[in-house]
Symmetry: none
Subunit: 190 residues, 4 copies
Amino acid sequence: MGRRHVFTRSELLDHTKRMLLEHGYEGFHLKSLSKRLVGARSTIYQYYANKDEIIAACMRRVMEGVLEQTQAVDETDCMEALRQLLTIYLREAGFHQLMAHAHKIDRTSSAAAAADLAFVEQAHDTLKNQIERLLARAREEGRLNPDIPLPAVTGVFINLINTPNLMNIPLPEWSRMLFQLWLEGAGKRP
Amino acid sequence: MGRRHVFTRSELLDHTKRMLLEHGYEGFHLKSLSKRLVGARSTIYQYYANKDEIIAACMRRVMEGVLEQTQAVDETDCMEALRQLLTIYLREAGFHQLMAHAHKIDRTSSAAAAADLAFVEQAHDTLKNQIERLLARAREEGRLNPDIPLPAVTGVFINLINTPNLMNIPLPEWSRMLFQLWLEGAGKRP
Amino acid sequence: MGRRHVFTRSELLDHTKRMLLEHGYEGFHLKSLSKRLVGARSTIYQYYANKDEIIAACMRRVMEGVLEQTQAVDETDCMEALRQLLTIYLREAGFHQLMAHAHKIDRTSSAAAAADLAFVEQAHDTLKNQIERLLARAREEGRLNPDIPLPAVTGVFINLINTPNLMNIPLPEWSRMLFQLWLEGAGKRP
Amino acid sequence: MGRRHVFTRSELLDHTKRMLLEHGYEGFHLKSLSKRLVGARSTIYQYYANKDEIIAACMRRVMEGVLEQTQAVDETDCMEALRQLLTIYLREAGFHQLMAHAHKIDRTSSAAAAADLAFVEQAHDTLKNQIERLLARAREEGRLNPDIPLPAVTGVFINLINTPNLMNIPLPEWSRMLFQLWLEGAGKRP
DNA sequence: AATGAATGAGACTTCATTCAT
DNA sequence: AATGAATGAAGTCTCATTCAT
């Protein structure tokens, strides 16, 4: 039996996620990462072969978490399902920002990274399809304004995630408020 | 007297802006910048003393352009003014993303950079105040739903700028569409 | 654990001292330094954070060596003490030249460098005081010509250190000779 | 007739000398030099082909000035002659320091620099011979202590030039004082 | 398994020198 | 003759990655 692990794979990815959100892909350095962990910088290479592999693994793990939740959503009532999806996305802070770095990763340097990225991309499509499907159904069911093109509705809905929560309203209420704003608008109802 | 300029200050800042949006603050390298311009890397230093100075100047220029337009907006009709502001912001692609890098710049390295950043920050406040003022007025005039807290309305309005224009709808129409979505919501009106 | 050191901190400072004396502060380059050591240029940064830190550490080490010796000198007989101090200074070749570079070092770049420099400066004062104290005593005791102002006597005494030893006379004898010349002059005694 | 000269060759060499004494050979930059002159940096190349040529010319000019004075000295009374030589050397502040940089100059880069350096070196020998000749005569005439080897006496005499003038005593008196100290010593005469 | 040390590639910046007006 | 602009060589420093213990 060898020595105990000084930090777990999960701890490593947790800090990676936090630092990616703080500093971006190009500002993410293994030097700073190892300072947040307990062990030495070189120990990181016991877990992953290089930097890009870590980032890909991090993205995959976040995506898996989201996917698991979204697939548990009951789609019977499409409006209710959309409301739940919004909550899930809001919970995963910076999710979109994170995924935006995907295309910067060099896939040739590591097969593992390439595989993780492939997974992430496919999952991304799955998520996108789910939302588009639900929105299309909502429209067919007469819940949405038929004068507005679906892509515009979709874009605004997805973009809700990035809305700055200026007052730090607690998540469930914040989610409800955003959904209402999206559905009914900011204007005075007649 | 002296040789002809191989590139202008304006060209330099144009490419800087483009590259900042593509690669972020930490991914912005003078090597790549000089590759997009015609001259040598060291020629850049004829214009600006260091990297941060370039970035600060770039941010200032963008901000000045926006400021000039927003200050020409007639605020008599607050709803109309907001609509125009949205158009202005949408025109300046990636405006927000760009400004987000401001705090990473080292102000001690260059007085010029520090001055540009001070300008940018003050202008930022001016813009924010203008929007908040207009939204408050709109609320008082009974144009907005009084049940929704103003900060939430503000956040969503500002965040409209980042909405992905999936269909590449032309700017004037895209702006009108987003404004309508914000005001009336995506839902079916009764 | 970890690889063997390719060179020690002490070796690094030894070469630094030699090169500072040969080329001066501005002519001291890490490239040449690493060429004299066995390793790569970047390895130097395992020991010191930047160039100025190396120079400051070098100066401090030399100063510590001198200080240790001068503080062991018995000051009962002031003339004998002065003779011993001269020997100590002569032993540390180029001591003065080295210290002359102190003011060129940028103290803001490194706290370690600033601390080392503070030490060096304080020690410098200590040395200066010791010599001035001994010379003043010697004068009071009637061992020096009272017609010559003390600062002139001091200046010439300190400057003895830089006298070119054209014949490479061995240190102890060279020291005795310089002391005698300082005390009795080069002229024929009546 | 072309344009007027913006600065003279002499002004250029004046500033060069001053800056060489302040910053040393390796710390001497044409950029700073041109800042002290009135014209542009590139204008310097109208006078000299490169940096080393300037430094060599500067050294030669200083040397010529000294040589002219030393050769006018009446050597009939050797002690008086030595006293006058000391005054001449003291007048040319930093003379020795300056000449110490001679060996760093690359002679292959410019024939003019090589010629100037050859002159400087020959003149240096002339000066050295003059002093050694006078000191030897002084010894033969019984004016110097015969127990002290001539090279030691010479070294100390030449080194007088570098003595720090802590009280800023005016040159003629300072020269007299140093000469007396050298001749009679700092000790109490019996 | 863990790690301290070593290292080369690459980024920023400065400067002597050349070029074109 | 004078000069503003251009440039490549060289220097400092950082960082991902490898190596030896």
